[in-house]
């Protein structure tokens, strides 16, 4: 106990306001809030890059024979020749779109931004446990980003074996035509892995050890719970990817053959390692989003989260089961079919907690007093879209059906209902919700609502039809589908998807405009614009360096809205002293 007190006071001294140089304050800052904002800018940039790659891909899929790529002239001949996207460039587009979105946009936006920003604030502490490691975890992402972008311009182009990097294609430049680009991406992955491991050490340690007095485990906001569980997943899954990635680099460069059958290696070993990481990874990509959604839905419905304990339990069981279901990505891979059966069982188990969560979100809205602001719309959108992604997952979990739909656009539809309709919707919601805390100004609501509706409509126009073309049998990662007899008749669907994709991408710019415009012109935000209960709202917007004048003491659960004993308002901050609020409160 004594050490902890010493720690706390030590930190208070550390964080006393003192003059800092520009460089220390904004660039090499150890303040978790600044690091979060750095991550936010970084990830928004890569979200745009990832989107741009998708636009090029969509153009090609819709009009494979047309050429005439708008602005095609600005690309080097090795990518676009006389207006035609080349197949090798297309493979790079598919691969790097997936890779950039997963590793440089969504994952660091969910975790790098919000774990950094919210964990100390919502737990009531001054900063992360290891501020300098925290800074390092951002700066490790910088070389990763540079390597990724640069890899497009080296000989052979960027990695082209899919974001899943299946060997031997990914390991044999002679067969893929991609040499250095692949290695650069793997190197980037090692940086990303290290960054995310260091981040996780920080998030986990902070959550375990630096909670404010009274912040018991079961009083933690669901955002913290989900980020905590996510950090555990990343901590245990990323190193496996790093190990596998290093072996893959060795196969490419120094003549080993871990994954190459000629030397006795096993291509399927790569898939096992990748998906052992990959399935926890998909939960890394969704759990934080579930946390934000719970929080925004609760504040927006003016009701406590329905079934808080069930929500926590569902999170924990997902984390546990997440490590034993990886084989469901490999039903048609040549893995022993009987092994497939055991993975079916675990996969079915893991579907249940997702269902529980969906019903609890609906329970949270039920008999609420819904404030349909932009953040809330995105949170509701999350529930609606995630449900579709979850339901399409049932098709794939049913192994016989998966025989047919595996590696078709049905999968692409599923990925995007969970990752875009799920994660990204929740992220937009989180940005609208916490922006006032971050920057001290509100984002514009009108623009926000337009952004929501455009995104919602275009999103569904892009990705719902993909279920359809998937049913017809269109394979994924395919440069030109028009040569196949069974794929005649989907041209219109593909053109529709592409037009809608352009609309979706364009609506992103409305968001970007709103984001930057509001920095200067947005309405000034008070400390607690949403009348929310968690600790971050009980300190000024934006919070000062060190967050708190005095460490808050927590008396209540995280989502106490509309408590019948509180008469003058419909919320109760976690740190409100019970005797001050309402004398009637003792009666229960």
């Amino acid at each position: 106990m004594a050490t902890i007190v010493a720690e706390a006071t030590g930190q208070a001294i550390l964080h006393e306001e003192h003059e800092q140089s520009f460089l220390r304050k904004y660039i090499f800052s150890t303040d978790h809030k600044v690091i979060a904002i750095q991550f936010l800018i970084y990830t928004l940039f890569f979200l745009m890059i990832g989107g741009l790659l998708a636009m090029l891909m969509r153009y090609q899929i819709a009009w494979p024979a047309r050429g005439q790529l708008p602005l095609g002239g600005i690309f080097p001949e090795s990518m676009v020749a006389s207006g035609y996207i080349l197949p090798e460039f297309y493979n790079a587009l598919v691969t790097m779109h997936g890779s950039v979105m997963v590793f440089l946009a969504i994952m660091p936006m969910l975790v790098g931004v919000w774990a950094n920003y919210l964990i100390p604030l919502q737990l009531g502490t001054h900063d992360m446990a290891f501020p300098r490691l925290n800074m390092l975890s951002f700066w490790l992402m910088v070389p990763a980003g540079i390597l990724t972008l640069a890899s497009f311009f080296v000989i052979g182009g960027a990695a082209g074996a899919g974001w899943t990097l299946y060997a031997p294609l990914s390991a044999r430049p002679d067969l893929s035509g991609v040499g250095l680009g692949q290695i650069m991406w793997l190197a980037a992955l090692v940086f990303i892995g290290l960054s995310s491991i260091l981040g996780s050490v920080n998030y986990i340690t902070t959550t375990i050890n630096l909670r404010a007095p009274g912040m018991t485990w079961m009083r933690m906001p669901l955002t913290i719970w989900s980020l905590f569980i996510t950090a555990i997943l990343a901590l245990l899954a990323m190193p496996v990817l790093s190990a596998a990635g290093i072996m893959l680099v060795f196969d490419q460069t120094i003549g080993t053959s871990f994954f190459l059958p000629e030397g006795g290696g096993q291509p399927l070993l790569w898939q096992h390692l990748f998906w052992f990481f990959g399935h926890p990874e998909v939960y890394i990509l969704i759990l934080p989003a579930m946390g934000f959604t719970s929080e925004i839905l609760s504040a927006g419905s003016r009701k406590p989260v329905f079934g808080y304990k069930a929500m926590v339990l569902a999170l924990v069981s997902i984390a546990f089961l997440g490590f034993i279901v990886w084989g469901h990505h490999m039903f048609q891979s040549g893995m022993n079919p009987m092994l497939g059966l055991t993975f079916t069982v675990s996969t079915l188990f893991i579907a249940v907690p997702s269902a529980i969560k969906t019903f609890n979100w609906m329970g949270t809205m039920w008999r609420g007093n819904l404030q349909l602001h932009t953040a809330m719309l995105f949170a509701i959108g999350f529930v609606a879209m995630f449900a579709i992604g979850g339901l399409s997952g049932v098709f794939m979990a049913s192994t016989p059906v998966d025989i047919y739909i595996h590696d078709t656009y049905f999968i692409v539809a599923h990925i995007h209902y969970v990752l875009f309709g799920g994660s990204l919707f929740a992220l937009f919601g989180a940005i609208y919700f916490w922006y006032p805390k971050m920057f001290g100004r509100m984002m514009d609501e009108t623009m926000g609502k337009i952004h929501f509706w455009l995104t919602f409509v275009f999103f569904n126009l892009v990705f719902f039809p993909m279920h359809g073309v998937g049913m017809v049998g269109m394979m994924r990662r395919i440069y030109d589908s028009t040569g196949y007899a069974h794929l005649q008749g989907i041209e219109d669907s593909n053109a529709l998807i592409t037009w809608a994709a352009f609309g979706l991408f364009a609506s992103g710019f409305l968001f970007a405009f709103n984001f930057f415009w509001s920095l200067k012109k947005g309405r000034k935000a008070e400390a607690n614009p949403w009348n929310a209960t968690t600790l971050e709202w009980q300190t000024p917007s934006p919070p000062k360096h060190g967050n708190w004048e005095e460490v808050p003491v927590v008396y209540h659960g995280p989502h106490e809205y509309s408590h019948p004993d509180v008469e003058d308002k419909d919320w109760l901050a976690q740190n409100e002293r019970p005797d001050v609020v309402s004398p009637a409160a003792g009666s229960h």
Binding site: V352, G368, L370, P400, I403, D407, G483, Y484, D570
Partner: protein, 223 residues
Amino acid sequence: MDWALPPNYSTFGVVIDQLFWIILVITGIAFLLVEGGILWFCIKYRGREGAKAHYTHGSNRMEIIWTVIPAIIIAILGAYSALVWDDIKGSSNRPADALEFLVVGKQFEWNITYPGMDRTLGTEDDFTVRNQFHFPVNEDVTILLESEDVIHSFFIPELRVKQDAVPGMTIPVWFDATQTGNFEIACAELCGLGHYYMMASVTVHSAADFDAWQASQAPAAAQ
């Protein structure tokens, strides 16, 4: 816009499609309940000045209901899927006297080795044809799937067959076509530059036609 499964021509396809439609109905109902519920709540409980939300932390009874019901449905689906899967892929269900072919994927073509008139692989009269797969209708067919270089995936949509071809492995795949016809083998796993055109023609013959076709090929291949 015709979003449908292609017509089915195989015995396994019947059960696969059936399962697909069963799941579509079940998830369709769940879809309507969830999306309808959300929409209804948005309208019914939209914020009003001075209104106060109902204060509750949840209900264990509801929690149990919506854990158990999906769990049961999913368990039944899972059990049924497992049975069908075992029927289709279980090694104990591999047909014993099937006609065997060797199919080898390589960038970017499918090479099919035929058993010849003696109907056995590995004998003198075997012959190999590039990008053409002929086999008889109404007969168990087993292909031994291999790859020379990277991973490909053997996909015939109309037969509801898909299996990755992995270098270093020989993977048996079996099926039984129910009608004659012409289809294509597509490659469903990204395998490099030419992935998109890695296709081969498939011809399902009557038994007599198949024999005739093999006879016409054998001398050509023998030279």
